[in-house]
Symmetry: C2
Subunit: 336 residues, 2 copies
Amino acid sequence: MTRRRPPVMSDVARLAGVSHQTVSRVLNDHPNVREQTRARVLAAIDELGYRRNLVARALVTSRSRTLGVVSFDTTLYGPASTIYGIEQAARTAGYFVSIVSLKSLDASSVRDAIEYLTEQGVDGVVVVAPQRSAASALESLPTDMPAVAVEGTHRSHVSAVCIDQIEGARLATRHLLELGHETVWHVSGPSDWLEAEGRLEGWRSVLEEAGRPVPEPQPGDWSPRSGYAAGKRLAAIEGVTAVFAANDQMALGVLRAFTEAGVKVPEQISIVGFDDIPESEFFSPPLTTVRQDFDAVGRHCIEVLLRQIDASGPFDTERLVVPPGFVVRASTAPAV
Amino acid sequence: MTRRRPPVMSDVARLAGVSHQTVSRVLNDHPNVREQTRARVLAAIDELGYRRNLVARALVTSRSRTLGVVSFDTTLYGPASTIYGIEQAARTAGYFVSIVSLKSLDASSVRDAIEYLTEQGVDGVVVVAPQRSAASALESLPTDMPAVAVEGTHRSHVSAVCIDQIEGARLATRHLLELGHETVWHVSGPSDWLEAEGRLEGWRSVLEEAGRPVPEPQPGDWSPRSGYAAGKRLAAIEGVTAVFAANDQMALGVLRAFTEAGVKVPEQISIVGFDDIPESEFFSPPLTTVRQDFDAVGRHCIEVLLRQIDASGPFDTERLVVPPGFVVRASTAPAV
DNA sequence: CGCCATTATGTTAACGATAACAATCGGCGG
DNA sequence: CCGCCGATTGTTATCGTTAACATAATGGCG
C-alpha cells in the first residue's frame, strides 16, 4: 500500500472552489470571510480530513508553538510533578512541550540542551534545574530567548518561579521547636542544589533566632539510602530528639535507621520531611512534611514564559514565589 | 535592543564564498565536497555561530526528527521511568521527544493526543498507556504512522514493548509459596489496566498449578491509600500470611495497615510488591519486590520505532518482551 | 591531445503554510 | 452617474532548507 500524501491547503481550496489563502483565512479566523464561503471551506476540510501542517506554519511565522523543558532526572517526584504541571498548562495554551532530561547538570550540558532545543525552534524554554551550576548556565543564555527557571532562590536576570524553600524549612523547624524539642538536627541535600541550600538556611535561621544550638548538618544526596546512612549516624548520637530531613525520601531512610536502632518514632524522635510525595502519608508512621505545590509552579512557569513570548520587545525579569504548605501527620510528637 | 535575525545558510555561503547548497552539503556530510571548501564552510559556520533551522529542514524532508509520547500520569514512577528511558534513547538517536500527559485514558483522549502530535509532524509515537481503553484507541491509528505501545499483553496490530507482567507475578507468588505459605492473597490494580490484569493472571496461575486455594483478590487503584484499605481488610481476615500487592505503593499501604494492626512483618506476614521504586529498599521492613527494567523498555521502544520510521514500505508488527527481575529483601520470611 | 566519466559546485524548484499587496464587487455620497 | 471605500477574494512573494538538475572543473586513457 502506498502511503498517500495527506491533503494540503490547496487540495481543500480546490474542493471548496476558493484560493488557498481563503482557506488559510478560515483557519485563522480572519474576519473578512463570507459566512457561506467559510462554511464551504469547513465542509471541504472535513471531507478531506485536512489537518494543517504546523511545520510549514512554523517556518513562515517563526513560531513553532513548542516549548522546551530541560530537566534533571525526571524520575524524581519533584521534577516529574513540575513537568506534569508545565505540560498541562502548555497544552491548554496550545503549546507543545519538548523535553530533554539530563543525567548531569553541569553548565555545559544545560547549555547544550538549550542549544539543541533552540535549533529545533522552540519558542521558549523552562529549565527545571535547581542546581547552582545549572542556574549559572542560564546566565549565558541569549537574552532574546524567552526562558524561565524553576529553582531555589538564585538571583539572576532570568525569570524564575520557585517554591519558598526557606519558608518551608522554617515551617518545619518551627513546628519541631514548638513541640518542645531543644534543637533540631538536619539531614541536608547535596550542597550544589539551590533547594538544599534554601532548606538549610531556613532551618539554621529559625534555630539561631530561637537561640538554640545549631548542630552539624548531616549531608545526604536526596536518596533514601543517604538518609538511612545519616539516620544511623544520628541514632548513635546522644540526645537527638528531632530531625528535619531535606526531602521525604531521606526522611524515609532516617525513619528506617531509627526504627532499626530500636528508637520509636515519634515517641522518642520526631521526623519531618519535605515534598509530600504520595507515599509519605503511608510511611510507618505517616510523615509530617512540607508540601510543595508543583502544579502551581508549572502553571506559573507557562504564564511567565508566554508573557515573554508575546512581548514584542525585550521582556522584564519576573520572579514568582509559591508559598509552601505544611502537613502534620504522625512522625512528630511533643518532646518528652 | 533589536533582536537580530540569526544567520541562515546563505549568510554562511556568502562568507565562505560558496553557494548555499554547498553549505547544505557540508552539513549533511555529502561526499562530493573538496576538503578545502568544507573547511572554509565550517569556519564560516563557526564564525557566524550558525545553527541550521530544523523547522525548514523538516518542511522539505517531511521528517521532523521528533517523536511523540502519549502517557498517562507522568508523575507515577513507572511511566516517568519509561519516558526517561525513551527520552535518553531518542536523543542519542538524534530525535526530540514531545510529550503529552493525559489525565484520563479513554480512547478518545488518546486519539486526540495522537492527532495533536500528528499535526505537529512527529515521525512516530510511543503510547505509554497500559489501559485496555488506551490500547484499543491504538487500533484506530492510521496504519502509516509508526507507533509503539508500552503495555501489558494486549494483542493488536500495533507493535508493542512490554515487561512480562505474568512472569513477574509468577515469580512473586512462587517465592511466597516456596517460603511455605499455604496460599497468597493479592491486592490487585484497577481492572482496566493491562498490567493489573497480567499480574492477577500470573498470581492466579501459580496458585492453581500448585493446587492452592485462590482467595478473593482485593481491588486497589495503585495508590498507597488503596493498599492501606486493602491491608485493613486483610488484617481482619483469619489466616492471612502472605500478600502480593500489584505495586510497591500499595504494598506500602498494606505494610502500614498490618503494622497498625500489630501484625509483625515479615514474622507474621510476608509482603511482596511490584516495580521496585527507589523507596522500596527503605520501607520498614525493606520490600521484597519484582523489578521492572523501564530503561530497557524505553530503549526498545525507540529501536522498534526507528525501524518503522526507516522502513520505506509497510512495517512489521513487533512484540518485545522484557523479562522482570526479582529482588528479595526483608518483607518476606518462611511461614511459621 | 581530446573525449568522457567523475568530481565539485551552482541554479532553480520544491515543501506548505502566512503576509503583503492587488483586484473585484457593491453601495453610497456628491 | 462617477468615484471612492470597505468587504471579500485572489495572486505573488517569502520563510530556510533539501532535491533535482545543470554546469564547470578535473583527470585518466586511448
